[in-house]
Symmetry: C2
Subunit: 208 residues, 2 copies
Amino acid sequence: MAVKKADRNLDINTEAKILEAARTIFHKKGYAATRTRDIAEEAGINLALLNYYFRSKEKLFDIIMLETMEGFFQSLSVVFNDTSTSLEKKVEVVTESYIDLLLAQPDIPIFLLNELRTHPSEIGEKFKMKQIIMHSVFFKQWQEATKNNKNQIPPLQFMISLMSLIMFPFVACPIIKMVGDLKQEQFNKMMVERKKLIPKWIKAIMKS
Amino acid sequence: MAVKKADRNLDINTEAKILEAARTIFHKKGYAATRTRDIAEEAGINLALLNYYFRSKEKLFDIIMLETMEGFFQSLSVVFNDTSTSLEKKVEVVTESYIDLLLAQPDIPIFLLNELRTHPSEIGEKFKMKQIIMHSVFFKQWQEATKNNKNQIPPLQFMISLMSLIMFPFVACPIIKMVGDLKQEQFNKMMVERKKLIPKWIKAIMKS
DNA sequence: AACTATTTTAATCAAACGATTAAATATTTA
DNA sequence: TAAATATTTAATCGTTTGATTAAAATAGTT
């Protein structure tokens, strides 16, 4: 009896196990291609248990979706509103921290983008992304830094480009590996290289 | 009777109608979220007819997938191997033609990327993308142009960045619209702006 | 130990979905 | 025109899938 109790405590909360399995499968396959039975199997539990804890596939998905978006935009918010760092430093920090994040969890961008495309975004509206990004310290610094350029680059255009350079390679990973005939390890090495390249390029763009 | 025949000729080939409907729905929802009944309804035909013409959902999908990839990479191949234009001109042409393509069919990049992620790529291997891109005139010109730089940018890194700047905004369209509080029309206007911005930025990067 | 509440399972339901069949209609060919 | 072929439909089959139910196992409490 005592042993059994110890065993139970070892393999975490059942709820947590289900959530972890759901995260894995949803991130990998997306909502539509995911079967609740897959999640149950991955979690090592019965299918009925999943519905007992989370009522429905959609409710479970909403939790994962919300949690994923939060995790993804939080880092951005923190870095962008640091009043103690320069614009250039922010670019370096954002680039480095996001590439690290994506190396650890490469499925997240395409998961988010693909689900936001299909699911008309009830979820997305919960985030005050507009507030977080458009009124950030980063944005004010950018406008300050480029106000003397003849052709000032619109802040949103700049923002989009920075995020493109950081995130797109992970979204396009399968194609890049095909075109460049790379294995996962070589691909990752390239992404690490980009931590240095992207800030350089951004500086070059700002001076233009 | 003559009238009926005329009617029939008007509404194209039934096969073509089904293909067009399949293209629309698959591009919009992806394979897993698409129901064959949706395609039949969109095409204005019976469900059985779809299977009569194309045997199965998967066979129909493969046709659309192949056709979509071909269309998407062909333009690239043509521009990249034009021996009569300069490197800078090629960047301009690629940027402009691809942004035009994506303004007309904005769903294509995320459709392709998402399907390539799930479906282990039997399809992808049919394309000799490596040949097309890595041995293109464009690549040789790039290496020539940057060979005197202290830190030569690896061609594949450059290629990735160019494609990122062009394509990612369309993939991230829903988020960008949320962050910038934009309507579709305003978003499109921004993309048109980028036709001029991206070649400028690329030049700035090349000089660095 | 006895009782209650919680957790887990096996079995099953009902709807959704891809696919098939057999028959009807239209078109082409002889 | 008659026979043969191609096109289209209504009805339905068999699986898959999300969800439920009722009962068993376990944990917690007195």
